[in-house]
Amino acid sequence: MNEDKSNDIFIFPRWSWVLRPAVAVGALGGALYATIVVTFGFSPRATDVGYAPVQPVPYSHAVHVGQLGMDCRYCHTGVEQTAHALIPPSQTCMNCHKSVRSNSEKLIPVFESYSTGMPVEWIRVHDLPDYVYFNHSAHVRRGVGCVSCHGRIDTMEVVSQQEPLSMGWCLDCHRNPERHLRPVEYVFQLDWVPEEDQLALGARLRETNDINPPQDCNTCHR
């Protein structure tokens, strides 16, 4: 027999028809699953919050700020004047550690940096995209406390990201700043709690300090 079968079309057998609803359910379910995974799984809240990389020096904010009571600005000198809070030079560490714990093994990278002039390579925790131009001074000078974005740094052995730092999160505050405003003198006091209702205080501060956070795109994107 020389029957040419190349033109025959394949027809699904009748028994396979029962699978049709299953395929439909599978497709819909898959789409739903993908949506849920992308929405919640890939959101900054899931991927970024809690990010706590291991630093070359196990510097503890809990010890320095929480127990010893150092001011944020001792190290982060630019925070009131410039866009960047600034990570301190090794020299700043050595102001004390020349005499305090000057034999500690944990501090070896700092000692090395101080003597060789090469930097300590810290790992950035709060990392904004490159197209975002955040300015520390603009927030700190208006009475937005460090704690609002960074959390209770003074209790952290290892610094971790506490807030999603997403655009929606930024805008929440730019739209309703009352929840995060405090008198300027308490900006660096991480454990400060208002004596009155935060919203009432925030509204009053907003009025007196003339705070109208812009929501224009070019405020942060240039």
Partner: protein, 1030 residues
């Protein structure tokens, strides 16, 4: 096709290119394509398989991008220098030197990287402004093609060497009393270099010293020598009210003091404060000064002496000006026949010069012979002009041509054993008849210090990498002698050394670092205990007070004047050029200058002011001459001059003198680098010592082959219907009037606004705080391109290359529109001369912005201070906004232009501005980063933003201060007041887009009171567009 007659017969016709005016088939074909900058039709058709491959790859990538972005490190200083805050830009005063004149500038440094050069307000030649070329010098610093090591070329081999090797061998080469030793350097005004040169010549008394520059003002210097008996430096002043006559001179652009001159010219040109000088220009090719002229006549360069001599004759014969006895020869009837146009020009000018005695100036271009300069100097002297003189700083220096001639003679005689070439590129730019390159090969030891391993380096035995100006210590003198300091902003990237250091090394000096040399030299001039304070102040200010030369009041020197009169007479007898015996004028290029900036992408891509050509030089030819010779626009032509000939594309430029063709020097480099190699044609091959600027008897022959010049002039063109419609409108886009008409009726700029009532579909936005706006004064804009480069440097705008410019994909945010203007009713084949008007065009930040209304993803938005913000990371690249933009000022990233840049080039990026990726639209932001920086600072200090505190990059660098930026909500701000001026108008007001940038109309101040109102098209009731006026 038959030449088209412009339909509009009542007013002048504005057009951008001859193709457009003629509606040639090529042009029609080009505008037919709806999206000319799309290249779909040029791609091979995509197959299904390709499509699946691409889609598959995209999906795979999509999975990768969803993760958290990569780990980033923060590397603080180990020891932070005192007073230094990382992330805060610092500014340092320094300078750059070109052709022996130091130009002061202030360079912004970001974390140790110089990123942008601005002018130094304290420097007399800058006054805060900076030319396009000087600004682009920053890019040169980061050029990856710069030479990185010492090379020794011997016996056909090339060896990489160290400085220590050179130092060792230099001991042998520079031995004895200097017999057989010659030095060839660039011209330099550096006092420290003079000192080191003297030490060098003390050590080697038999050595010879030569200074060569291909472009110089030597003719002017020799002219003053003829008149006054000693060389003087000429200082024109343009701020005095009166009359300025330019004969082939371009004081607004190519003078070492052009930034100051442009400021003076513009300062006097505000009709509210005075009429300003009446500007007469006679020139062979359009210059920027010529564009601004009230009276301009296009004459061949060899006709310039004739017309000037006629002016002198008229002054004596008709206006009874007395010439001193020695110069009486000038008064005689020149006996030359002048064309009607030339005669009218000479008559108007002579009577104006006679009327404005004591308040006028005659300026002559550097390509004119010394005898012509001499005549101008005599007339200036007799008429009591505003021109000032100082003694020449180096009176014994031979002319540059003489210097290189002497050197070549010595090389030919075989008496040069060691040749030290400090900077420059003589193999490329020495006159061709000297055959410098061949002779150089016969010199046993030749050493070239250069930024690049260029044409000259490749013929030398030693190549030494040179430190860039921003990497080295130095000093120099401004045109008026002001002591100018130069300090490095960055350590040498490629182990280079400065010319000063190499010379000091060769001289065997004790201190050979630039810092010590420069500091010690300045220290020697101050007898103070606390020199350190003086030094720090000098570095801070960039200039040292009290060193400008004193002006002199020279007296005519009778003996030499006779020579000058005879010299002029010889020039007058030359036969005028014709189409068969053309005159070829070699000019310095407006962008790459003498060729030294050939590898600078910013400059290569800036469209030339007049031709709008990028990435090429072209032979400029007048329409009449082109018709005579049967040469088409864009046709490759063969130019024969003397024994040499080259092929170059022709560019038909209305306003070019008949019988005179121009070609810019500086192109056709073979060892410039990746950017500059083989761009354009090398005009130096036609240049001889006998005729370095103006070559007569040149012949031109068409080849019939077309060459695509990457010009931006027809970009964003529209079809015939659109052309006609636009022609009705150009008069309202670029508004002009004569000064008399304006003074008689200040409303003259608004007479022709007709549109139906403007009703908006949108609700008006209320502005509480600031509302930014800009005013651009067309009366002072000179079209110099400084703003274009400033914007490019400030805003990380990519260079796209010639191919992409041909595809209409140039990226500069500022476009300087150049319109030719001709009388109505002229057929396109009758056009020869034309007027030119410039209009800088960038995003005008419309209040009712058409772009915002069509963006499907809200990537362009109105902000609370009135800007159209462009949100790059939201843009999906539909380009609807660009299609809907009536000004065509939006630019689209067709590629990831920044991706493949060298690491060093990326160091130039301004970190305050996002680097845009492929598929994203961009446009002028009014320098929003500068606005935010000032706003945050002012808010931190709890004070309002002062007027003038925010200055966008374009306004900052504008030599004429034609651009003003400020808050429109403040009625006292400068910009509000300018918007209130009668000359101020909004472009395309009839579209109800309400632009935030307004233009101030241009005025003409002709002697006969003429000069027309730009808008003359049928309007009002006649075209049934309604009667309401805004």
């Amino acid at each position: 096709m038959p030449p088209m007659k412009s339909e509009d017969t009542t007013g002048p016709v504005y057009w951008r290119s001859l193709e457009e005016l003629q509606r040639t088939p090529e042009f029609r074909e080009a505008v037919k394509r709806e999206f000319p900058n799309d290249a779909w039709d040029q791609l091979p058709p995509a197959t299904r398989r390709q499509f699946l491959k691409v889609m598959g790859a995209s999906l795979a990538m999509a999975g990768l991008t969803a993760c958290r972005w990569p780990k980033e490190e923060i590397v603080p200083f180990a020891h932070r220098p005192e007073g230094r805050t990382p992330g805060v830009p610092e500014r340092f005063a320094t300078s750059m030197e070109m052709d022996g004149v130091a130009l002061g500038m202030v360079v912004t440094s970001y974390d140790g990287r110089p990123i942008k050069a601005e002018g130094n307000e304290l420097h007399p030649d800058s006054l805060g402004a900076l030319s396009a070329i000087a600004q682009a010098d920053v890019l040169q610093l980061y050029d990856p093609d710069r030479s990185r090591r010492l090379l020794l070329r011997e016996g056909g081999q090339q060896y990489v060497k160290q400085w220590s090797d050179f130092e060792a061998s230099a001991v042998e080469d520079f031995g004895g009393d200097g017999t057989g030793l010659a030095v060839l350097t660039e011209r330099s005004s550096s006092p420290t270099r003079s000192l080191v040169r003297d030490r060098f010549l003390d050590t080697y008394p038999k050595a010879s010293w030569h200074e060569y520059e291909p472009i110089s003002r030597d003719n002017e210097r020799e002219g003053t020598r003829l008149v006054f008996g000693r060389p003087l430096r000429v200082h024109p002043k343009l701020d005095a009210v009166g009359v300025v006559a330019c004969f082939d001179a371009d004081p607004l652009f190519d003078h070492p003091s052009s930034l100051r001159l442009a400021r003076e010219f513009a300062g006097a040109r505000h009709p509210e404060s005075g009429a300003g000088a009446r500007l007469y220009v006679a020139e062979s090719s359009f210059s920027l000064t010529g564009v601004r002229a009230d009276h301009r006549v296009a004459i061949a360069s060899s006709r310039v002496p004739v017309v000037l001599a006629r002016v002198a004759h008229l002054l004596v014969a008709e206006h009874h000006i007395e010439l001193p006895a020695a110069a009486a020869g000038y008064a005689g009837e020149a006996g030359q026949t002048l064309s009607g146009e030339e005669t009218r020009f000479a008559e108007h000018l002579a009577s104006d010069l006679a009327n404005f005695q004591g308040g006028g100036a005659i300026l002559v271009g550097h390509q004119q012979q010394p005898a012509v300069h001499a005549l101008a100097a005599v007339l200036n002297q007799v008429l009591g002009s505003t021109v000032e003189y100082t003694a020449d700083p180096d009176p014994d220096r031979p002319t540059h041509l003489q210097a290189i001639n002497d050197l070549v003679a010595a090389m030919r005689a075989g008496s040069v054993q060691t040749l030290l070439i400090l900077g420059g590129n003589p193999v490329y730019n020495a006159p061709a008849d000297l055959r410098f390159g061949e002779l150089l090969g016969e010199v046993p030891v030749s050493i070239h210090l250069s930024l690049y391993d260029d044409e000259t380096s490749q013929r030398c035995t030693w190549h030494l990498p040179r430190a860039h100006g921003l990497e080295s210590w130095g000093d120099g003198r401004a045109w008026d002698g002001t002591w100018t300091t130069r300090q490095p902003l960055i350590a040498p990237l490629y182990d280079g050394r400065s010319a000063l250091e190499v010379l000091a090394l060769a001289a065997g000096m004790e201190h050979t670092t630039g810092y010590e040399l420069v500091r010690d030299n300045l220290g020697g001039r101050f007898r103070v205990l606390d020199f350190d304070t003086v030094w720090r102040r000098a570095l801070h200010n960039g200039v040292v007070g009290g060193f400008a030369w004193e002006t002199v009041s020279p007296r005519l020197s009778p003996g030499r004047l006779a020579v000058a009169v005879d010299g002029l007479r010889a020039l007058l007898d030359a036969a005028p050029p014709t189409s068969e015996r053309l005159e070829l004028v070699l000019t310095a290029d407006s962008r790459v200058w003498d060729g030294r900036f050939a590898n600078n992408g910013w400059l290569q891509e800036v469209p030339d002011a007049l031709t709008k050509v990028t990435w090429d030089n072209a032979l400029l030819i007048s329409p009449g001459t082109a018709r005579d010779l049967g040469i088409d626009d864009g046709e490759m032509v063969v130019i024969e001059a003397g024994e040499a000939s080259i092929e170059a594309p022709a560019f038909v430029l209305p306003g070019q003198a008949r019988g005179s063709v121009s070609l810019a020097l500086g192109y056709g480099r073979t060892a410039a680098g990746q950017v500059g190699n083989d761009v354009g044609v090398n005009a130096y091959t036609l240049r001889t010592t006998a005729a370095p600027h103006v070559i007569s008897g040149a012949k031109l022959r068409g080849t019939g082959r077309k060459y695509a010049l990457a010009t931006t002039q027809d970009h964003f063109a529209i079809d015939t219907l659109g052309f006609e419609e636009r022609n009705l409108r150009v008069g309202t886009l670029v508004r002009e009037a004569s000064l008399d008409a304006y003074l008689a009726n200040p409303e003259v700029f608004h007479e022709h606004e007709h549109h139906p009532p403007l009703i908006s579909l949108w609700k008006d936005q209320a502005y509480e705080g600031e509302q930014w706006g800009m005013a651009i004064d067309l009366n002072t804009c000179i079209g110099c391109n400084a703003c274009v480069v400033a914007c490019q440097a400030e805003n990380n705008i990519p260079v796209v290359g010639r191919e992409q410019v041909l595809n209409q994909r140039e990226m500069q945010w500022i476009r300087i529109d150049r319109y030719f203007k001709t009388e109505p009713g002229l057929r396109s084949d009758e056009i020869d001369d034309a007027e030119v008007v410039f209009q800088p065009m960038t995003c005008v930040q419309c209040e009712n912005a058409p772009c915002e209304q069509v963006c499907p993803v809200a990537a362009t938005q109105h902000t609370t201070d009135g800007l159209n913000a462009m949100v790059y990371n939201r843009c999906v690249g539909t380009r609807y906004c660009s299609n809907n933009c009536p000004f065509k000022v939006r630019r689209f990233n067709f590629f990831n232009y920044h991706k493949d840049l060298a690491d060093t080039t990326m160091m130039q990026f301004n970190p305050e501005v996002t680097v845009r990726a492929r598929g994203v639209m961009e446009k002028c932001t009014f320098c929003t980063q500068r606005i935010e920086a000032v706003r945050i600072g002012a808010r931190n200090d709890n004070r309002p933003i002062a007027d003038g505190e925010i200055v966008p990059a374009c306004a900052q660098t504008c030599p004429t201060q034609a651009i003003t930026f400020g808050n429109l909500n403040d009625p006292e701000s400068k910009v509000s007041k300018l918007h209130e001026e009668k000359r101020s108008y909004a472009t395309l007001a009839e579209l109800n887009i309400r632009p935030r940038t307004q233009y101030l109309g241009r005025l003409k101040n002709r002697a006969d009171g003429g000069g027309d109102v730009g808008h003359g098209a049928p309007h009002g009731e006649a075209d049934g567009r309604g009667k309401e006026t805004a």
